[in-house]
């Protein structure tokens, strides 16, 4: 599976775990509730840790633990739910998170430029055939009005 990360199409190394999957070796991404439940065990995980945030979740709930995560994945169950944009803005703009911020789910290629402006630096598209278009879209605008995070 390929993704866009830091303006390049690369192979994805992350394994996304469902809440009832056993914890596996390697770089794993878990849900916020899994993290809260199995924190004691996960903190000693040998690979890298990522956490996936849903639209209804609140960024301040993981603020104290951000140092544990090499990646925060933000899910878009539907493209029209814009909460993930604010989550990313707060992560990078307000909580100083400098790791990978990845968009996952049903977002559109046409949203990739805005996503990158609020702090997303990685994009996992539902349809990998759209990766080249998404990469090009990162340059839709050469100018902006607002300060970028």
């Amino acid at each position: 599976m390929q993704i866009i990360k830091n303006q390049q199409i690369i192979d994805d190394t992350w394994l996304s775990l469902a809440d009832d999957d056993a914890i596996k070796t390697g770089d794993i991404c878990i849900s916020l509730s899994r993290w809260q439940q199995d924190k004691a065990q996960l903190i000693n995980h040998q690979g890298l840790l990522g956490v996936q945030i849903e639209p209804t979740e609140v960024i301040s709930d993981i603020a104290a633990d951000l140092g544990q995560f090499a990646m925060v994945a933000i899910n878009f169950p539907v493209f029209s739910d814009g909460r993930g944009f604010s989550h990313a803005q707060m992560l990078s703009g307000q909580y100083g998170y400098t790791g990978e911020i990845r968009a996952v789910g049903q977002f559109m290629v046409e949203q990739v430029f805005y996503l990158s402006r609020v702090g997303f630096n990685s994009f996992c598209l539902a349809n990998p055939a759209e990766l080249p278009g998404a990469l090009a879209s990162l340059n839709d605008f050469s100018v902006s009005y607002q300060l970028a995070v």
Partner: protein, 551 residues
């Protein structure tokens, strides 16, 4: 007015290219119907009953003569020779072809115009007082702050997929002519006890299905914090506004359900996190203000006074027009002139290509090359020398733009209704025409005096019927058009929502019902009492009794 720099121009040209690609993507099937819907709406493009409708942004209603000529050209080449002024001071075209929209946008970009965020669940065109900078009751010109908000909100990456649309209005004067209490955010320029000018911020107002009057969330905000504070409000709304039901998704519902106190605590906490580092510098504000300097007024303009008095005394039609369609200007020797877009037989707010061109010429000749759209769907030439009024009036008469009815019953606000809009339940333009036909006696019109009728063809309330002195709302009953009347609404300082008069009225009887209401007013008013004051005094009773007398 604000002039684009290279940065602004590049941005809108890149937007044209982006929208061209999105339209191509839709036409070739790589962008789905559902996806394109969100993308086209964010660019003001609706799919309507007959054809797409394209809404063009007119920031705070201000247009240059060059822009008017471009709109005339677009009306001629891409549409059916006319356009429509909206209640958000924008311009709409009703007949463009979908595949030509990118070309229209490219034309608009040549004159610093676009259709960005004129629809969709994003921050819409910021509206303001159509008398900004020229009225006599101004604390400070609101337009520089509107422009600052325009720049901040344009293509704001975080706020393009809000729960619902988001509207901001700014007023700089004592009298609120921008309906700020009925916006998602209302901004008032105010002075604090120390004499400093800043902003009072209102939140959670709005019209539509559930009209609500906004509440003060911050009595005084220093100017430098304007953008950070707006950003904090919109972020809290984006995160917590309801997304489960589109009729409960506006910020007014969030404020109501969480309570103003709790909502402001959330906003305050967010604002404290971001405000340092987002301040507007004095230099930046001064720079934007520099775009709104007063024009080079003629010091000798007062000299025309005697001549004007003679003209007023010798020509009764001119005097009537002067009384109703012009207003006092803050500079002696000048007047503010309204162009009535409510001539009998014309859909309220419509202008032809030829009228647009002619208005551009008049603006150049008489008003420093600028025109404003008002939220009551008229146009304004803001800076006319009194010595020029007679000549200007004669030209406006020829253009059918001098109907002396500003502020009266026939100066009604009206949405496109069932004739054009796919959301509408009932016609509105036809009702406007019937009312106009019924009140063809000018003496009667003037006797009624100030009265605002607002007609919307559906619950979405584009014509702000709930704040009309008389509100008319089209409803559908088993495929038949009916109308619900409300009385006593107002969008000015004493904002109020109209009260329902009684059961809906059939289409055939609606004009009769309205003229009955007017008759009750004429017969039962006290001396010098306006319609609105009388409604507030007597309530629905006397009106109800007569309107429903035969049922």
């Amino acid at each position: 007015m604000y002039q684009y720099n290279e940065h602004d121009q590049t941005l809108i040209e890149e937007r044209v290219a982006q929208f061209r690609r999105q339209t191509d993507g839709y036409l070739n099937g790589s962008i789905s119907e559902d996806q394109f819907r969100a993308l086209r709406l964010m660019n003001g493009l609706y799919i309507q009953t007959h054809a797409p409708m394209l809404r063009i942004a007119v920031p705070y209603g201000l247009l240059s003569s060059r822009q008017l000529r471009k709109l005339a050209y677009i009306a001629r080449v891409y549409d059916k020779n006319y356009c429509h002024v909206t209640t958000r001071q924008n311009i709409q075209f009703n007949w463009p072809k979908l595949e030509q929209v990118p070309d229209i946008l490219a034309e608009l970009a040549q004159v610093q115009m676009h259709a960005i965020q004129t629809s969709g669940n994003c921050i819409r065109n910021t509206t303001s007082d159509h008398l900004a900078g020229v009225c006599t009751d101004e604390i400070e010109d609101p337009r520089p702050y509107c422009e600052i908000i325009r720049q901040w909100s344009t293509l704001h990456p975080e706020f393009a997929y809000l729960p619902r649309k988001f509207k901001i209005a700014v007023s700089g004067s004592l009298q609120d002519r921008a309906a700020t209490q009925l916006h998602d955010i209302g901004v008032h320029l105010v002075k604090n006890a120390a004499g400093e000018t800043g902003f009072e911020i209102l939140v959670g107002g709005g019209l539509g299905r559930t009209p609500v009057i906004g509440q003060v969330i911050r009595p005084f905000l220093e100017k430098k914090h304007l953008i950070s504070y707006l950003e904090a409000i919109v972020r809290i709304y984006n995160l917590f506004g309801r997304r489960d039901n589109k009729y409960k998704a506006r910020i007014k519902i969030l404020v109501k359900e969480t309570s103003l106190a709790k909502f402001s605590t959330l906003v305050e906490a967010q604002w404290q996190r971001i405000k340092d580092g987002m301040e507007l510098s004095d230099d930046h504000i001064a720079n934007i203000k520099g775009h709104f300097k007063a024009p080079a007024y003629d010091d000798t303009a007062q000299a025309g006074s005697a001549q004007l008095q003679t003209q007023l005394a010798s020509d009764a039609s001119f005097a009537t027009w002067f009384k109703y369609n012009s207003l006092e200007h803050k500079i002696a020797g000048y007047r503010i002139v309204f162009l009535s877009l409510k001539a009998p037989g014309i859909a309220p707010g419509d202008l032809t290509d030829n009228q647009l061109d002619a208005v551009a010429d008049l603006a150049d000749q008489y008003s420093f090359g600028e025109v404003r759209n008002s939220h009551r769907q008229n146009m304004v030439l803001a800076d006319v020398k009194q010595a020029d009024l007679y000549a200007l009036w004669q030209k406006l008469v020829q253009l059918n733009l001098a109907t002396p009815n500003i502020g009266t019953v026939t100066d009604l606000i009206c949405c496109p209704g069932l004739d054009f809009c796919s959301l509408a339940n009932a016609g509105s333009i036809g009702i406007a025409k019937e009312i106009n036909d019924a009140i063809d006696n000018l003496d009667y019109l003037y006797d009624i005096g100030e009265l605002k009728i607002n007609i919307s063809g559906c619950m979405n309330g584009c014509a702000h019927q709930s704040v009309g002195h008389i509100g008319v709302l089209g409803v559908d009953k088993n495929g038949i058009e009916w109308y619900q009347l409300t009385l006593g609404g107002s969008s000015d300082n004493q904002a109020a929502l109209g009260e329902r008069l009684g059961p809906a009225i059939a289409k055939n009887d609606i004009t009769q019902a309205i003229t009955t209401i007017l008759d009750v007013y004429i017969k039962q008013r006290q001396e010098d009492e306006s319609f609105l004051s009388m409604v507030n005094r007597v309530g629905m009773g006397p009106f109800k009794e007569k309107v429903y007398a035969n049922n």
